[in-house]
Structures are given as structure tokens and as C-alpha cells.
Symmetry: C2
Subunit: 276 residues, 2 copies
């Protein structure tokens, strides 16, 4: 997918919502929990209910890997289901991979060839040669961790140099030379919305994947105020607040209501920015 | 496994060799490549040939994930084979995972419960709450990335603070308070052997997993000189230089010779250190 196509989808659905498929088997409603393919069945219903309001989906690999081969099957079935039924959605494997060059190349093949996602999240700690293999696939994106939304993000991401530049800013400055807006995006945690101003000075044009809205407490309005650019430039993710909005037979309706609610707020913000 | 058991195995085999199972299907000898379970069959032969000389094995998940479910099966079969036939070896999933707390917990379950490895490599970028869930399993280890062996390690791992302390040293100082020698080890790239002196001042007692000996060019003697402690404290990994020492029907014999050669050097170094 290109950013032009992504922007077209944002305008069409009046939304920049990404639904995080953190589909923890333990939290899946009881009436489908015992299905052999419970996680996939759950995902299908969540996807069907939220697709009118979401332009992206983000399965988090941890919630699939934790069940070994069976979990991996649910992941692959989910990817195939999305591709076949909703070919326009932007599909992110939230895997936070990263290894030495020849190994990263294998991870890139895992997600861009064996599987067929549009983007994969990558951790920057090992530097350029660990990221570059992911940038070699036409129409595919690295989403590099810059500033994450968890409390311990401050442990190292704010580690400061002699000129008081935090590590995450160094990650942005160095990595933006490795790729371009058509193959590189960044994870920027919404819980630090005020920092978005400075980040936008560094990377005005890249798309940002913003977690932390919803269960983690970030503000959508602040994210839009400080993070939106002239091509939207935002994918705002909500996971648990949507997919586990309900815990009974009406979980899909509750997820739909939650997604629609976010989409309506997003439509308003897109209008304010004259993007729709 | 405890570090006492690990040390006992080091003394028994007179070796601190870890064999990296970076079992790239494209590099597997032609006569077994077409077997449906080629990677597992290859691993079995490599393991049987090298087990007298190795105290640890380290499958790198990228080389399994890149083939989706089939690759994951080969990984699980390899883990089971090692557990059943070589219960004494220390088994490391080289996965370089790390995510927000509730997600890291899922990854920890993936490797310590769904699978049954002794240790998993973890990336530190997201800080304490991304690492801690891996530290909650009795007898299991986090092996945290500190200084890696790839050329681009310098991009961020040497990023320096106002008092000129590189990021990797900050990672060591902070993280060593999160666990102890019985649940935490570190990845320290052998290609920076001279840095080992300073690292040993920071963490005198932890075990280090040292990649970069062999195909990546690090020196075993330097690693032992600067990195060994009174309980050995080293797991030196070699991957490609052993498993792809040969590319024909004699690949297992060639791997055995390479592993034995390293083990003999290690026995000498252990004797010099009065550990055996």
C-alpha cells in the first residue's frame, strides 16, 4: 500500500482508527471460548463489526505466539480473512522484531512474504543494519519504535546526550535517513502528546502509529492537535477498549459502538483540519 | 535450570559453547532439503553431532518464523528433541522480544509455558515493565540485549549521556536491579572484547551470552581473558561457523569437528582459569 492509498481510505471512512487485535484467549467471551478456533472466530466478529470505522488492524503477535502453532494458525487465518474480505485495510503485524542483518531479513520475509501484512513494528536498539532489511519491500512499511506508551518508556527512551537530546529523538534523526515516508512510520505513544510538537519538527511528513488512546488513557484531541499533518499522518490505535468493550454475547455490538464513537470523533477532527 | 547446574555442565563437558541453530532452509544441504521436515532433520543431526561439545543451544526464531506454521513446528520439534534426548543442555530461544507489560507477559508464556526453553533474549528499549514479566518464572532466564555484535550496534548502544556513559552501560546499571544472577543474563557482543573489562566492573557475577565468535570474527581468547569470572560466567555462541561448516552429506561431521575444535580451546581456557 502507498500513503496515497492510505490517505484515500482515511478520507473515505472519515477515520484514522487502527483496531489492535490483542486477542487474549483468556478474555474472549465464554460462549465462543471453547471453539477450537476461538481466537479467529472472535477476530472475525470484531473485524466485521468494526470494519466500517477502522482503516487499519494490528494483531499483536504475542497474543498468538503464546499458544504456539495453534496461535500462529489463528494469526494467519486472521490475515487471510482481512485480505479477502477487506482488501483496503492497512494490516500491521505488531511484532517489535529486530536482529542482526541476515536475521532481520528472515523476519522481514516472515511478515512480508510468508505472511502478507503491510507493515511490521520494529525495535531500534540494534541500529541501522537491523532495520534496513525490512525497508527493501515495495509497498511495505517498517513502523519503528520511537516513543512507546508504557510507563517504563522513560527508562531508556529519555536517556539524554551531552546536548540533552533524548534517545528517542536520536532514533528519529538517525533512522529517518534510512528510509522515506513510503516505507517508514514511527510508533509515538499518545500518553506523551505534548512531546508530539517537537517530534513533528523532526519528522513532519511521516505517518505515526499512536498507541495509548483508550485503555492507556491518552487523549485523542491532543494527539490530533499536535500530531496531525497535512496528509493526516496519524494511525491511532485502540485495542482493549474496543475488542473487550463487552464480555458477553453482545461483545461485537459493544466493539462496534466503541469503534463508531472513536470514528465520529475522528471525523470531527479531520473536518477541523480541512482534510474531509 | 540454576546457574549451579549450568556451571556443573560446563565443568563436565569442559566447554562453554552454545550452538546457534540459525537453520536457514536455503543453506541446508541439498540431500535433506526436500524432506518435509528438513529443518528439524537438519537440527537433529547437528545436535547429535555437537552435543558432546556444547552446553547450550540457541534456535533463532527468525529462521523458523519466516516459514510460518511449518517453521514454528520445526522449532517446537527441535525443543522437544533437545528436552527428551539432552535434558542437561541450556536452551535459549533467541527471539529478542519486548513489549508493554501485559503483552510481554504473553511472550513470556509463549516461551516458558507453551514452549519449554530455559531462557529468552529480550530487547531493553521499552524499559523495566517490558522485561519484568519474563523474570517471574522460577528457573528461567531473561538474556537482555546490552551490547550486540553487529556493525550498527554503535548507532544507539553507544549513545552517550552528559557524563559520557554509553546507553548499553545505562542498560546494565538499571536492569541489574530488576533481577539477579539466577534470572538475568546479558548479550555482550564479542567483537567489542576490550569493552568487557568495564562491563565486568558493572556486572561481575552475571552470565554473559557472547555472540560474534566465528563467522562474525570475535576472538575467543580475548572474550575469556576479559569476560570470564570465577564461575565461568560465559556462554559463547557460534552459529553459522558450526552448522554450515559443511554443505554436503558430511555436514554433521564438519559441524562436529568445528564444535570439538572450539570445545578444546575452551577446555584450555577453563584450565588456565583453574575452573577445571
Amino acid at each position: 500500500m502507498t500513503t496515497d492509498q492510505l490517505l484515500a481510505n482515511i478520507k473515505k471512512k472519515q477515520s484514522f482508527l487502527c483496531v489492535g487485535l490483542d486477542s487474549d484467549l483468556n478474555k474472549i467471551p465464554g460462549h465462543i471460548k471453547n471453539d477450537k478456533r476461538a481466537v479467529f472466530e472472535f477476530n472475525k466478529k470484531i473485524i466485521d463489526a468494526t470494519a466500517p470505522y477502522a482503516i487499519a488492524y494490528k494483531p499483536n503477535l504475542a497474543f498468538y505466539e503464546c499458544r504456539g502453532i495453534e496461535g500462529w494458525k489463528d494469526f494467519e487465518l486472521t490475515v487471510t480473512y482481512l485480505r479477502e474480505n477487506y482488501p483496503d485495510v492497512f494490516l500491521i503485524a505488531d511484532a517489535k522484531r529486530g536482529d542482526i542483518g541476515n536475521t532481520s531479513k528472515m523476519y522481514a520475509q516472515a511478515f512480508f512474504e510468508s505472511s502478507d501484512v503491510d507493515a511490521v513494528t520494529v525495535a531500534p536498539y540494534m541500529g541501522e543494519d537491523s532495520v534496513k532489511p525490512f525497508l527493501q519491500f515495495e509497498g511495505k512499511f517498517v513502523i519503528l519504535l520511537a516513543l512507546t506508551s508504557n510507563p517504563s518508556a522513560a527508562d531508556f527512551q529519555y536517556y539524554s546526550s551531552v546536548d540533552h537530546k533524548p534517545l528517542f529523538a536520536e532514533v528519529l534523526d538517525k533512522s529517518k535517513t534510512w528510509g522515506n515516508v513510503e516505507n517508514l512510520m514511527y510508533v509515538v505513544g499518545a500518553t506523551k502528546a505534548s512531546v508530539l510538537v517537537k517530534i513533528r519538527e523532526q519528522i513532519p511528513d511521516h505517518f505515526l502509529l499512536v498507541p495509548g488512546v483508550g485503555a492507556q488513557g491518552g487523549s485523542l484531541e491532543e494527539v490530533a492537535e499536535y500530531g496531525m499533518n497535512k496528509r493526516c499522518g496519524l494511525l491511532v490505535n485502540a485495542s482493549r477498549s474496543i475488542i473487550f468493550a463487552g464480555s458477553d454475547t453482545d461483545f461485537a455490538e459493544k466493539a462496534e459502538a466503541e469503534a463508531r464513537n472513536l470514528q465520529q470523533k475522528m471525523a470531527e477532527l479531520l473536518k477541523q483540519a480541512n482534510l474531509i
